[in-house]
Symmetry: C2
Subunit: 347 residues, 2 copies
């Protein structure tokens, strides 16, 4: 357990700075008095791109490397062409820092509205691969803009990359009461990548006799997420399927205002990065309407990653209590929610 935390903060675009502010408030409240917190803010995102044309200069990447962890708000703005900041900043960080475990827990908190009838019990975690698949940026186009254009996107999957994330998922499944791991892919169509994933899970499963495994095609998985979410415990899946499933998972557990994520480099070679699943929501930026809870829950994942298990749990319990006490029909501002959570954590 670290006695000091050297944290890089990337507030980013839209509501990013607001939710990050509340996240830091709760982080400060949660830390024991003898743990020193140092934060360094990085000006990255749409503003910087407009001003300098830079998304993530090598020098900044170098500086970021030195921190214990990164807290990121949100990236993206309609004034920047789609893909520029996503690929040049967010995905660049995930790839450069080898964040091969993209961890996204899904829990239906008490007193939380779900679009699903009957409020089923939901408590699973998605282990999304973060450095391979169709996200590698290995595509191109020829005769671009003509009627003869061809555009490709290549999904690259390696035994190295698949096995390490599958092992991580097995470890997590083994540590949970239900001990169940579901591989989600589309191995009846994407047969090469799919078989690599299926064979890897089958092989590693032999080392985890206590973990029950099963397989679902990604299309079928979306059905079960809305009809029988209780069936899931740990899901392991590729980068793109994980992206899709975790937004759906967020939607059924109260919305992306509550969905936390960690981009984790389990080896510790590079800093891990924690961010809410939601985007920059420019339409509500500055209105105080953003819910900082997803960022606060991401801070809990950050603390757990750095060995502060008790503090992480305290934050999660504070969120649970806060949601349970929430009064219907009286919306609170971003800062009010952050204050309430900080007070509960400190209390």
């Amino acid at each position: 357990m670290a006695r000091s935390i050297d944290l890089a903060v990337i507030p980013g675009d839209g509501i990013g700075p607001e939710v990050v502010g509340e996240g830091l408030k709760v982080l400060t409240a949660a830390l024991p008095g003898d743990v020193k917190l140092e934060t360094t803010a990085y000006d990255l995102g749409a503003r910087r791109w407009h001003a300098t044309g830079e998304t993530l200069p090598d020098s900044e990447l170098e500086r970021l490397k030195a921190h214990d962890a990164i807290l990121l708000g949100a990236i993206g703005d309609p004034s920047v062409p789609s893909g520029v900041l996503e690929r040049g900043l967010l995905l660049r960080l995930r790839f450069a820092f080898d964040h091969y475990v993209n961890l996204r827990p899904s829990r239906l908190f008490p007193n939380t509205t779900t679009p699903l009838a009957g409020s089923p019990e939901i408590d699973f975690v998605v282990v999304r691969e973060g450095t391979e698949g169709p996200y590698v940026g290995n595509g191109g186009s020829m005769r671009t803009g003509t009627p003869a254009e061809v555009a490709t996107e290549v999904s690259i999957n390696t035994a190295y990359g698949v096995e390490r994330v599958v092992r991580d998922a097995f470890e997590r499944a083994a540590a949970r009461p239900a001990g169940k791991l579901t591989l989600v892919h589309k191995n009846n169509v994407l047969v090469h990548a799919g078989h690599l994933w299926s064979n890897t899970v089958a092989r590693v499963a032999e080392e985890y006799p206590g973990v029950a495994t099963d397989y679902l095609h990604v299309d079928a998985a979306t059905i079960f997420l809305v009809t029988q979410p209780q069936r899931f415990d740990v899901i392991v899946t590729d980068n793109l399927f994980g992206d899709i499933l975790t937004d759906l998972a967020a939607a059924i557990t109260g919305g992306i205002g509550l969905a936390a994520s960690g981009n984790i480099n389990p080896t510790g070679t590079f800093p891990s990065m924690f961010e809410p699943v939601h985007g920059s929501a420019p339409d509500i930026a500055g209105t105080g309407k953003a819910d900082p809870t997803a960022t606060v829950l991401s801070v809990a994942l950050l603390l757990r990653h750095l060995g502060h298990e008790a503090e992480a749990t305290r934050i999660e319990e504070a969120v649970t209590a806060d949601l349970a006490a929430r009064e219907a029909g009286s919306p609170r501002t971003t800062a009010e929610i952050g204050d309430a959570l900080a007070a509960r954590v400190a209390g």
Copy 2:
């Protein structure tokens, strides 16, 4: 409007033969007395593969070409390695017959259970591209089975292929009261394919000033499908995203027991193929538990495609009336549902 229908029937695996039987029953009941229906059954699927090692011999493909349309039940069995029948038979048909419009309507029928609270109004149609994208089978693996394995899947997208399906979707949107078209892709990550899709929609949109267009990333689209399905009218999307979205769409509209689809070659060069979205469900094959309604609704799409609009509508109205009259808690057999629908259509 054809005065005779020369139909190829591929019952396939699992519950396929059962649901196809009911589909043909309703088709026969719906056809005017002066329209001649001729059917030819094709023995394709798991049984044949086990017996002969064949999925779809060239000679059968040649024979299939001569029909006016194809009705398919379901393909796939656990005794056959994943991908063999899907790629070798189902996808081979879609690609060989250039089924570039994969049409999947989603409607929440009266008295139908949806996992969504409050039973929102749902009535949209997904136009899924059927001949390109990650489905092209353009992947491979090297050092297979070793720790150094690399497996790729290539998504191929052409201006030719994207434009023709986008045009089809605009035509359908223009013919609907709401007149709205949503492109779903992931153009912030899959930038090359994504930009081809976005640019094509933007360009074709100029010819359809009456159609409102918008764009959603595929992850966000899954959120809206469960929180605000009313926002959708016509969705156009690529092969893989369409696969995922239409299973989710089926789940929120009463399940895949009701989801119909058409694999359409709008030029008429090759026969179009109609099939329920569901799979072969080997676990309930032969038990009489399969719901043939999805196949019956696929028959309606088939009739509409062949110009029998009135008969198609009569079948859809029969399904609506049948579902509305359905009694909770008294399950009917496959044949009972088929009989009830045939009686309504004939009456």
